[in-house]
């Protein structure tokens, strides 16, 4: 936890209300998010019990497995879920745009993409398990399942995997997103309680958040008291209505909380980088849809050596870009970097806008700007700098001494002999410079999976769908 966040948490505790740690929203919020609250049967790894889902806050759908130990009923439930989720997902595939790429064929990208909002990281994990238990099943052969179930499994797997992808907004866990924008006065573990966290942000903390009779757990685990006193007798009674009503009572409070969380996030203006990250999400979603349409096999159970390395490289690249973009978009995030000496802000006290280096053809514009700052600058001369005020600008640190920093501007001044108007900061302007820059260097290629080297076990066997997939042992 950074110093500023620690401070915000202390202040939240002191004032009895959560403190903002972001000035803008760092995630995309869909106009029509799919809120998805799954519940599982306690004591089972991935036995679905119920789900409340929908895109309309006034009309949630409730799906219930009236006897969760009956596998036929579970798959019937999964088919119902597919009946709701697949039309929602596929509804986004109709509107597309053609995207030109350098060095590759153009591709079709959807104009908007679906968004799954679950209550907490455990909800994402359960989504992944649901995907795992359904994507290898087949509508024919032994133990057939309804048509939509394997497709649903592949989408759920996809959404759960995107949740781990830094900066992606295709799948949001409400507590995580709220925690990125507000610091409560409780521990990180307690923040995973949606009721408690939204309480801190809106009305201040209250003991009610921990009373399962007022705010039942946001899932996927259910309250043991409810399990023993309400659910078990209802299931034993054999009455489907009774089970459904009991579960509705457990899910409805969370349903309201989810929309409150969405409203809270929606009240913040979107950060500048959100649109470009959502564009990547749209591209990724289009790619997944194309794979599905081409009849590619379901996602592998585990990443092979090459797939793992490639995913790691993509995720690291995304994480680095996400960190930089958040700092550029949000002065409160940048403040963290100013505290650690990786960024500084201050007033321009002197400029030499027409300064040049070199002679003749190698003559280059290299304006100097002197900035007065109170920040501790811990950057070495020669460090490449960027600035949120002028994103296209490139600069270099010349010297930092006694609160005066000299910066040389190297890029982003236009092509003429003097800098383009406004491209060099003027005396009196407040600017911020940082060593965080988002210049993508590209990562070296990986061998094809068939060329996996001997150090990593050699080429893996090819996956062939088989009947054994259906009899795979799972609970």
């Amino acid at each position: 936890m950074s110093l500023l966040t620690s401070l915000a948490r202390l202040r939240a505790l002191d004032e009895g209300v959560a403190q903002p740690i972001a000035t803008v929203r760092h995630c995309h919020l869909s106009a029509r998010p799919m809120v998805f609250i799954p519940l599982k049967l306690s004591g089972e790894a991935a036995a679905p019990l119920a789900a409340m889902l929908g895109t309309d806050r006034a009309a949630p759908h409730l799906l219930v497995v009236t006897q969760p130990r009956n596998r036929d009923l579970r798959f019937a439930w999964a088919a119902e879920l597919a009946g709701l989720l697949l039309p929602y997902i596929e509804g986004f595939l109709s509107g597309t745009e053609t995207v030109e790429r350098r060095g590759a064929d153009p591709y079709e990208r959807v104009l908007d993409a679906p968004q799954l909002v679950v209550p907490n990281p455990a909800g994402v994990a359960f989504t992944r398990l649901l995907g795992r238990s359904t994507r290898f099943r087949r509508p024919d052969g032994p133990y057939p399942v309804p048509e939509g179930v394997p497709v649903l499994g592949r989408w759920l797997t996809y959404f759960a995997e995107r949740a781990a992808y830094p900066g992606s907004s295709l799948t949001l866990a409400a507590t995580e997103e709220l925690g990125r924008h507000w610091a409560s006065g409780q521990s990180g573990l307690e923040d995973a309680n949606l009721a408690a966290l939204t309480g801190w942000i809106t009305d201040g903390p209250s003991d009610e958040a921990e009373d399962p009779l007022i705010w039942p757990p946001a899932g996927p685990a259910t309250d043991p008291g409810f399990d023993a006193e309400v659910l078990a007798p209802a299931i034993e009674s054999g009455s489907a209505e009774r089970v459904a009503e009991a579960l509705r009572g457990q899910l409805e409070p969370t349903w309201r909380l989810m929309w409150r969380a969405i409203d809270l996030l929606g009240a913040l203006p979107a950060g500048a980088g959100v649109a470009s990250r959502w564009e990547q999400d749209r591209g990724s979603f289009s790619g997944m849809a194309a794979q599905l349409a081409e009849g590619a096999p379901p996602q592998a159970r585990r990443d092979g050596a090459i797939a793992a390395a490639s995913r790691l490289a993509r995720m690291e690249r995304a994480q680095a870009a996400y960190d930089v973009q958040r700092a550029y978009d949000d002065p409160l995030v940048m403040a963290e970097h100013r505290l650690t000496g990786e960024a500084f802000a201050g007033e321009v006290v002197e400029t030499d806008a027409d300064r040049v280096e070199g002679e003749g053809r190698s003559r280059k514009l290299r304006p100097l700007v002197v900035i007065k700052t109170d920040d501790p600058v811990r950057l070495a001369p020669g460090t490449a700098l960027g600035t949120p005020q002028r994103r296209e600008q490139g600069a270099e640190l010349m010297s930092a001494r006694d609160g005066l920093v000299t910066v040389k501007i190297t890029k982003g001044m236009g092509r003429s002999k003097t800098p383009a108007p406004g491209s060099v900061p003027e005396v009196g302007e407040r600017v911020c410079y940082t060593s965080l820059t988002d210049d993508f260097k590209g990562s070296p290629g990986l061998p094809e999976a068939e060329a996996t080297p001997w150090t990593h076990g050699g080429p893996p066997p090819e996956y062939v769908p088989a009947d054994e997939d259906a009899v795979e042992e799972w609970s």
């Binding site: 390395a309 790691l312 290629g445 150090t455 990593h456 050699g458």
Partner: protein
């Protein structure tokens, strides 16, 4: 892990090197574990010359540009007739001393180098090379190399010698890699772990003698961090001396330095307190120790003769970058190296001053307990190591036993960071000031 005979009678470093060279043509890969300062670079240079002498081209992979430059200097000094090509990224400026070396060519493409006996580059640079294979490779600091880097370059060579120190810090990532844990090709594991999991029959040799660590330190480091693969120091108990030429004033800092000069270790214990990471008092103590060490005119005597401990022979180590920045800001002479454990890996000094990773903390996280971190900090010195810490670390450790989630399929790692910390602390407590 080494086969039979090595367990019975300790082999001399020379014997181990000869075993390694003999094993090279017999196996696709050979691994050499090297404890701190055990002559790893010497081995790499010897093996490079040995392989180059067969007339077959050789590629060398190191992890950082400094390591590459360092290896080139050593190869060039030891075997001036070998031609060496150094591949570098376009932004790299070679140090002047390297351009003057005979037989060394620098270029960004393999074609630019002529046809040298040895081509050497960082793993990152090698990953961009394709279209040619080398019959031999030497991978240096292979335990610091992430296995996904090896994956990118493994197609370039047919056989390889992997050299590294298993006790140092594991590679890391800025993203969570739990989804791969337990896989034999987990990209976040070190290159050697992945190599050995897929090729368990490859021979693993071990350099048995640390030339850097003094007799006072080798047993401590060996016991704590290399519990099953111990090593000994190359020098005897009286061979390394540290003398303070001027008298002390009896302050705790002076007494800590005197204790370190006498015994090779000192623990300067500050009062028990929970502090922020950049603990002002601890930072001040570290800075004062370094300043006093210079003022008192320390002289180091060893098998290499007597020499004063100048600022460039002193290092200050800490766990976090903000601690490093705070210590630098406390006004140390700029020649003294102040850095994090990650960056001190592979370096050597006469005296080190260490801010204990657990000092003043409320909790002991996996980061702070990682045995490699303490191992690096406690094994950079030729003469003495002074540790600065808040009291209460033993209690902190007792309150935080390792409680990491157990992942299926992940080999158990030794040493356990918790146990290693206890072991070092136990030894330091005898040198408390």
């Amino acid at each position: 892990m080494t086969a039979g005979p090595a367990e019975e009678a300790p082999r001399s470093p020379e014997q181990v090197i000869r075993d390694v060279l003999a094993d090279l043509p017999r196996h696709r890969g050979v691994v050499v574990d090297s404890p701190p300062g055990a002559g790893k670079s010497t081995l790499v240079v010897r093996a490079a010359a040995h392989l180059a002498a067969t007339g077959e081209p050789l590629m060398i992979v190191a992890q950082t540009n400094e390591q590459v430059d360092d290896l080139i200097s050593r190869i060039s000094a030891g075997h001036p007739r070998l031609t060496v090509g150094r591949l570098s990224a376009s932004g790299y400026v070679p140090p002047l001393r390297m351009l003057e070396l005979p037989g060394v060519a620098v270029g960004t493409r393999v074609q630019d180098l002529g046809d040298p006996d040895i081509v050497i580059a960082t793993a990152d640079k090698w990953a961009w090379i394709s279209g040619r294979t080398w019959p031999w490779a030497i991978v240096d600091e292979a335990y610091q190399m992430r296995s996904d880097k090896l994956l990118r370059i493994a197609g370039l060579f047919e056989r390889a010698l992997f050299v590294g120190d298993p006790g140092q810090l594991d590679p890391f990532s800025i993203v969570d890699g739990d989804r791969w844990s337990g896989l034999s090709w987990d990209p976040l594991q070190s290159a050697v772990s992945v190599l050995l999991r897929h090729n368990p029959d490859l021979p693993v040799h071990r350099l048995p003698v640390s030339w850097r660590l003094p007799a006072s330190a080798a047993p401590v480091v060996s016991r704590a961090f290399y519990p099953f693969t111990g090593f000994r120091s190359g020098t005897g108990p009286g061979d390394r001396r540290l003398e303070l030429t001027t008298g002390g004033m009896g302050t705790v800092h002076d007494r800590a330095l005197e204790e370190a000069a006498r015994s090779g270790w000192a623990l300067l214990e500050l009062p028990d307190r929970h502090t922020v990471r950049t603990d002002g008092e601890a930072v001040q103590a570290v800075a004062l120790l370094a300043a006093r060490l210079l003022q008192r005119g320390a002289v180091a005597g060893s098998e290499q003769g007597e020499r004063p401990v100048t600022a460039d022979r002193i290092a200050v180590g800490a766990a976090h970058r903000d601690q490093v920045a705070a210590i630098r800001a406390a006004g140390l002479p700029p020649e003294i190296t102040v850095d994090t454990a990650n960056r001190l890996q592979g370096r050597e000094y006469d005296v080190t001053i260490v801010l204990h990773p657990l000092s003043g903390r409320r909790d002991a996280t996996a980061f702070h307990l990682e045995s490699g971190r303490l191992c690096v900090l406690a094994s950079r010195h030729r003469h003495a190591c002074v540790v600065v810490a808040r009291a209460g670390i033993a209690e902190l450790l007792d309150a935080h036993p390792s409680a990491e989630t157990v992942q299926l399929g992940v080999p158990v790692k030794f040493p356990d960071g918790w146990e290693a910390n206890q072991s070092v602390l136990d030894h330091l407590s005898a040198h408390r000031v």
